[in-house]
């Protein structure tokens, strides 16, 4: 994902802003990192450039 996407995405639960931590970057593209809700503190992973913003109750069952 590009950093400009931060203006678009939010926490799926309380719709608050997210804070970005980058672990891996390829030019402008953020490949891996973490998004943390500034309100509830829930964390959402960025994997292969795709932020996983599924609510935690759906994400935990992920097998893919």
């Amino acid at each position: 994902m590009k950093e400009s996407l931060m203006d678009v995405i939010c926490c799926p639960i309380d719709k608050s802003d997210l804070e970005l931590t980058v672990d891996e970057r390829d030019d402008e593209e953020i490949i891996a990192g973490t998004l943390t809700c500034t309100e509830c503190g829930e964390t959402y992973p960025i994997e292969d450039g795709i932020p996983n913003l599924l609510p935690p109750d759906m994400r935990d069952e992920a097998t893919a």
């Binding site: 994902m1 590009k2 996407l5 203006d7 678009v8 995405i9 939010c10 926490c11 799926p12 639960i13 719709k15 802003d17 959402y44 292969d48 450039g49 795709i50 932020p51 996983n52 913003l53 599924l54 609510p55 109750d57 759906m58 069952e61 992920a62 097998t63 893919a64």
Partner: protein, 232 residues
């Protein structure tokens, strides 16, 4: 319907995700071209706004065929899907066909998108995978939340008007997806009657500007805060 509707919605959406993660590669190869109704909507919006579509979201984007359509018409699209495997297919499509898009894994009933963000949105062939009804109406409210005032969205769902159905009222069903090896994977569908489709829109925060039946699907062009929807 008891008080556990929300829990039910969660587990159902999770199973929809698991299903599409499983059939993603095969599904993507059979979903190559944009739907004519969606092409028509995007072209009409592009001409209504003089070509500048701005930020777009494609809810239930799957492999991104309509995300690509939005990008081709000058929008800055975000494709959202519950299935990570389908989003990967979208990423590959964008790389192969050289269009720009962002991809987000998310739930249509609880969108991870800030309010007043999208000036155009596409929410086709996805609403019918949600249950119960409160989750479907809730997802329409979510669409209203993220749409900018004056923005437009196209919503579609499978309808009893389709040739394969005999029913005269809306119903829940399971439609199997057959993988190349012959294995079948079940998918939940709520098949809408045109009357119920209109009713769900009316109960949501969206304003329906135009509702029609085409190719066995219910389609609605919707907006938020349109004082006079008839003027379009």
């Amino acid at each position: 319907m008891g008080g556990d509707n929300h829990e039910h919605a969660d587990s159902t959406t999770a199973s929809v995700r698991a299903t599409y993660d499983r059939i993603a590669d095969h599904f993507a190869t059979t979903r190559e071209h944009p739907w004519p109704e969606v092409v028509q909507f995007v072209e009409r919006e592009a001409s209504r706004r003089g070509g500048s579509l701005g930020r777009a979201i494609d809810i239930g984007c799957a492999n991104g065929r309509h995300t690509e359509l939005l990008a081709d018409h000058g929008a800055d699209p975000v494709g959202i899907d519950v299935s990570r495997a389908l989003l990967r297919a979208g990423q590959r499509r964008a790389a192969d066909r050289e269009f720009c898009a962002s991809w987000v894994c998310g739930d249509a009933a609880r969108l991870p998108i800030a309010e007043n963000t999208a000036s155009i949105a596409i929410y086709v062939a996805t609403l019918h995978h949600l249950r119960p009804r409160s989750a479907r109406i809730g997802s329409l409210d979510e669409l209203a939340r993220v749409l900018t005032p004056g923005g437009r969205a196209l919503v579609s769902a499978w309808s009893i008007e389709h040739d394969r159905f005999d029913a005269t009222a809306a119903f829940d069903t399971t439609v199997e997806w057959t993988l190349p090896g012959g294995e079948t994977v079940p998918r939940f569908y709520h098949i809408y009657s045109p009357a119920e489709f209109r009713e769900d829109l009316a109960q949501s925060a969206l304003d329906a500007i135009d509702v029609e039946i085409s190719s066995g699907n219910c389609y609605a062009t919707v907006a938020v805060g349109d004082a006079s929807p008839g003027e379009m």
